[in-house]
Symmetry: C2
Subunit: 185 residues, 2 copies
């Protein structure tokens, strides 16, 4: 959901380190690479080689590839690559659009990855997670993520769930985690 | 919720006409007046004279009063004052902080006002509504607003509900209406 772009753009500055935990076809990676500028860096992971290839191609065409570190691995292994401090991380769950619908993210892997990102998140930074309850396993993953986020300490983090309320057919929902820096986001 | 400020700031430009439907102590009015610049204008209403006075004082102190039209009337009468096109409107429901808690907004008045704003909203513009289910009548008003927004045509509008998921004690929730302009917000 592009509302996640509005929120991320409101906190990311040129020179920042940010994460695309599930780069897929590179839509969020490109957006993040444009935000951080030549001084910043995007860490982008995907478990599928075809996703990494698609993203690599698009970034190269746009002259943005030098701003991105692409890793072909599950987001569950994010902590092996994460810099010390990030200002934002984006997650887009489910399957690769145009790819094999049997290969999907899962609740335990996703919450492990979110936990890693939370530990490195700077005050004022945020994490966005788009979940798709409409595919097999997607409903369980959404619940898993929500249960995890519900337990974060409200003195340190604000977490929200954004639902479409006038859309049919199990629309996606967006979760947002914001690390407080004295004031609410 | 200041997340509403992030969203409104992402669509309002200098020179725009915008609305604070319930100016209260002027917090959102000041924010909007800063966004629209000297060429723009904020229409701000409140049913309570003390709210109008408080907002007037703050705007004057900040040198922003010339950007704001203050009207002492219920937001249900917004249509008498609305310009032809607005890029954003903000609603903060419930009672006046520091004022009489018996004087609150109500579902029918609020949805009437939202409806007026929707008719004048430019494509790409948005409306934010913060609802407080924790006070008497607040729960009913929230439901009333949600039922109204749920019926908006999804081909023309996106509507979301944002809930805190790690806060105790009936936290406020935020509704957002976005008028589509070919792409989702």
């Amino acid at each position: 959901m592009a509302i996640s772009h509005h929120l991320v753009a409101s906190v990311v500055q040129k020179g920042d380190m940010v994460v695309d935990a599930t780069c897929g076809n590179g839509y969020d990676t490109i957006f993040l690479a444009q935000l951080v500028g030549d001084e910043g860096s995007v860490l982008a992971l995907d478990i599928q080689a075809v996703a990494i290839e698609n993203t690599h191609t698009r970034l190269t065409e746009l002259g943005l590839i030098h701003r991105v570190q692409l890793i072909n691995a599950s987001h569950a292994y994010l902590d092996e690559y994460l810099p010390n401090q990030i200002s934002a991380a984006m997650f887009n769950l489910g399957y690769l659009p145009g790819g094999n619908h049997q290969i999907t993210t899962s609740g335990p892997e996703t919450t492990t990855a979110i936990e890693h990102c939370i530990k490195r998140l700077r005050p004022g930074g945020l994490i966005t997670i788009v979940a798709y309850p409409g595919h097999p396993g997607g409903r369980e993953e959404k619940k898993y993520v929500k249960d995890f986020l519900s337990q974060l300490d409200q003195k340190e983090y604000e977490t929200w769930q954004l639902n479409f309320i006038n859309q049919r057919n199990q629309p996606p929902c967006l979760f947002v985690v914001s690390k407080l820096d004295g004031g609410a986001l």
